[in-house]
Amino acid sequence: MNKLLEVKGLTYKKNLRTILKDVNLDVESGKIIALLGENGAGKTTLMRIIVAIAKHYQGKVLLNGDGSEVYRKANIAMTDNLKGLSDSTKVGEIEEFYQKLFVDFDSSKFEQLRSFMKLSNDMKLGQLSRGMREKLEIALTLSREAKLYLLDEPFSGIDPMSRKRIINSILLWKSADSTIIISDHFVNEITTILDEVVTVKDKKIASHLSADDIRAKGHSIEEYYESLYADEGAE
């Protein structure tokens, strides 16, 4: 396993508020990793910094040892909530848009994913249910030949069947050496597919463990995650 991503001493402030403080994280290639934390813990911000959308941070973010933002943008695929597009935009038009925007976008892979997700090219964005929209976001993201994929809460508020399909698409289409980081504030939906669990708490990375190491101690991932917040419940 090669070191893929290194985050060193990352601090990020926005409107005088510290969102991330001295965050350190090492990620290897070929993994599926959960990034867990409460709403507002800074998971999305961390992802946006990794993919070089959010700027003006302190510290280092290296992908394959390369710290340039251009390199990271070209090799990291993050889900986009497609909020910038109008409701009348068709799935096929979004695909064309992605093709122009990303050189690593693979149209044949998208066609496979699109049909697996049961989406058609003439569906309009405004017609899609929550689950279908989420499936589209995942299909677009996984269609890029990236080294690192960042899926920002892909399972929030969707039905179990859509969830199952998204999980299977990850298992079927993930290349062996790419890594997928999935953020969530709720863990037990995806525990069986995880290699590692990273938790964010109090603006920092609270822990980074192998999922089966947690289980080897007799804890479920959910119990472990809840135990991180156990002290606070008593206050």
């Binding site: 299977n168 079927l172 993930k174 525990t191 597919i193 089966d212 289980r215 479920s220 959910e222």
Partner: protein
Amino acid sequence: MQFQDNIPIYVQIEKYLYRQIALGKIKPGEKVPSVRQLAVDLTVNVNTVQRALNQMNTEGILEVRRGLGSFVTTDTELILQKRRELIKDTMSEFLESTAQLGLTPEKTLEELKKFIEEEKGD
């Protein structure tokens, strides 16, 4: 298949495959499904499946042939031995849980016999 979330998944995949082999669902010398296929069937990570297969390869139950896949051993004695181990494991787990109900092994056996008789009567 449902996994217990407080036992390492690779251990549970091993057990699952042992059961398939012990029950003859995958026969001696037969190829087991590909890593990716098992990952999708069981909804688990490819790395976790690989870890389970490697472990079984070390134990001699499977033979991992590079580029071809994994095959069940043709050593039927080894399979029988593994089956006996599985039975023992199941028994000791059962006795552990009855012990938690305050039953000695002897009392457990007595209760079990009674239970089987009653089931037959139904």
